[in-house]
Amino acid sequence: MLKMNHISKSFPGVKALDDISISVEKGEIHALVGENGAGKSTLMKILSGAYSLDSGEILLDGEKIENTSPGKMIEKGIAVIYQELMLLPHRTVAENIFLGRYPKTRMGKIDYKKMEQDAKAVLEELKLDLDARAVVEDLSVAKRQMVEIAKAMSRNAKIVVLDEPTAVLGDSELEGLFDIVKRLASEGVTFIYISHRLKEIFELCTNLTIMKDGRLVESGPAEQYTTELLVSKMVGRDVKDIYPKRTRNMGEVVLSVRGMTRKGVIENINFDLHKGEILGIAGLAGAGRSEILRAVIGADPIDEGTVELEGKAVNFKNVKEGILAGLGIVPEERKAEGLMLQQNMIFNMTVPALRKYKNRFGRLTPGKEAEVTRKYIETFHIRPGSPHTITNFMSGGNQQKVVLSKWIAADCKILLVDEPTRGVDVGAKEEIYEILNQLIEKGLSIIMVSSELPELLGTCDRIMVMNEGRQTGLFDIDECSEETLMTFATN
């Protein structure tokens, strides 16, 4: 049904796509996999008409499409749902579905009544559990994705591209999305699915195409692949176990949390963190996992409960106090909260502990800052390797290495990491696990929140499970399985 033949695309200085050909049949759920920078998004932007192509052709039902533009591709039935959803937050579901083509009365006034009815009809037909009158802002991310799907289907989309739709979803929401996708596919809608979570691809997709460095590696039925094979094709080498081994070596208790409560968010949280331990926190999105980290470091106030650091009671009134006591946080939203994107690596690496770079007159010493930055660039193989690189222009994995480095540079003893490998490609994931292991060996302690259960099981010493703001379990890694964690997280 869709054929993209010999597509090439260059940007100044980079060949983003080099002779890519991909063919997708009607009703197929076709996975597009590859590391960050492999060219998946560029290819999809060409399909959506956002980018023009340098050479090659796009055939839809055998008909060649010339002079692509976003408007034209929508008309041809191609819808792309980006990870950052393109909805108007303050408008209703119905308005978002019919954005740009509101039904009008004869007087030219927008016919809200008809719009609402039409929206209801669309939602019913798709069997989506959504209120047409709900304001998008009030919906969960999962529901917002449904709105996007409804919007696409109401435009009679034949091909729907989902760009990392699950990165922000918890596991139960995931199921819901998968059900919808599978159902629509069986009704003849074609999906192109981009995800870093390989497990999902095997669960959902019928065929897949692997890309690497802007080139096509191969295409084939999903059942012919195993995770290991897929990963090795993606990174171009064998990766047996992406979770590097380490010896478990838990020391004395460094952080002790008792009865920590933040009203309406988390309730009665109790745990100890040991020196040299990685304590995982599992749970669905919105279960209060990130909120524990924020409360511990002092970003959010605690209503009840106590926190003890190396045996001494502490009560951080702000993040600065937490940092001075040796804590550091790697936030979930790397781009919005982890980095100053307009600034270079030096700025970002030194900003949490500028006191270390002052001379006796209080003047910052840029030479020393650059030196420290270079040290971490070398230690953690950060690319591009110039300390003056603006962080906005770095890949997700390298950005995350900068965020980790800045806390190490700030002499952090307890690191709180939130989804450390989200949106990071497989190769860089491994490097991040390596870094975490190195930190553990140096005697740091880590609390890690993750939505990827294999990641928690592969890296942690113990795992705590959260469910709707309450702590439902705390397990040693040896007594954990994905099933146990899932049960306690959903219960």
């Binding site: 993040v319 937490g322 001075l324 909260e337 307009q342 700025f347």
Partner: protein, 324 residues
Amino acid sequence: MGKGKTTKVSENSSLIKNLKAMGILWALILICIIAAIISPNFLRPANMVNVVRSVSLNGIIAMGMTFVVLTGGVDLSVGSTVGVAAVSAAIMMQKGLNPVVTVAASLLIGVVLGLINGIGVTVGKLAPFIMTLGTMTALRGVARYIANGSPQNWRDSGIDFSFLGQGSILGVPVPVYIFLAVFAVAFYVLKYTEFGRSVYALGDSREAARLCGINTKKVETLCFVITGFLSALSAIIFISRLGIGQPEAGEGYELDALAMVYIGGASTAGGSGSVAGTLIGACLISVINNILNLMGISPFIQKVIQGVIIILAVLLERRTKKNK
């Protein structure tokens, strides 16, 4: 939003190197060359001094405005702060207060007014535009009220207070020295102090800054205090030069200052810009006005050209950023 920002924290980047990154510097040089060709008077030292002197009053404020703009904010109240500070200083001197005390008191007024803006924005969580629009309006009223609507002449008091505004050292007017000193301090603070770093961090991402242990409220409030202080400083020079403090003093300064900051390459979203850019922006405006004066072009047309320059400068800046 900002792409390809050239904000700098490099270990070996001298001032000159930073300036090289700005397309606007080349525009300034080009316009100076054109000016020199059109009018031989342009390059005369006396005229060059005049060029800098004529922007020194709003230039001082623009230095402070750069801090606020870097945080992603804006301070519309600076002109009215000048009005209040000018009128109060003039009245204090009429009452025979010691000039040193008068200056200190006026600066304190500026600081307090800045603090009010800062608290409104950080604690009251008001958008800087709204908060300072309010104080801009209110403070102009205050200036008129305490001056009873008329200019306050301080010369009758017999105090000699003309040095700051009218004096000169080695043939260069004192306001020029003050302007350049303010620039130097602002440059140093933004580049080499923790506070300066925090200003950039905050403008880039408030939440990221907070999670790095930066007291965002304190930093943002301080930026408004800086503009308040510098507005009052500007007001003191103003009354010293004119011999009177009128309630209309400083009217329109906020927009002049903002023009300098934005021409200098700062982003309205914050996190990107520099006082060096602002200095160039100030010089650019002044040089253009100067050459138009030398050519005898109507001041009305000068305004038109100044407006066009603002738009062109920002377009130019975006182009040079994209080309990187």
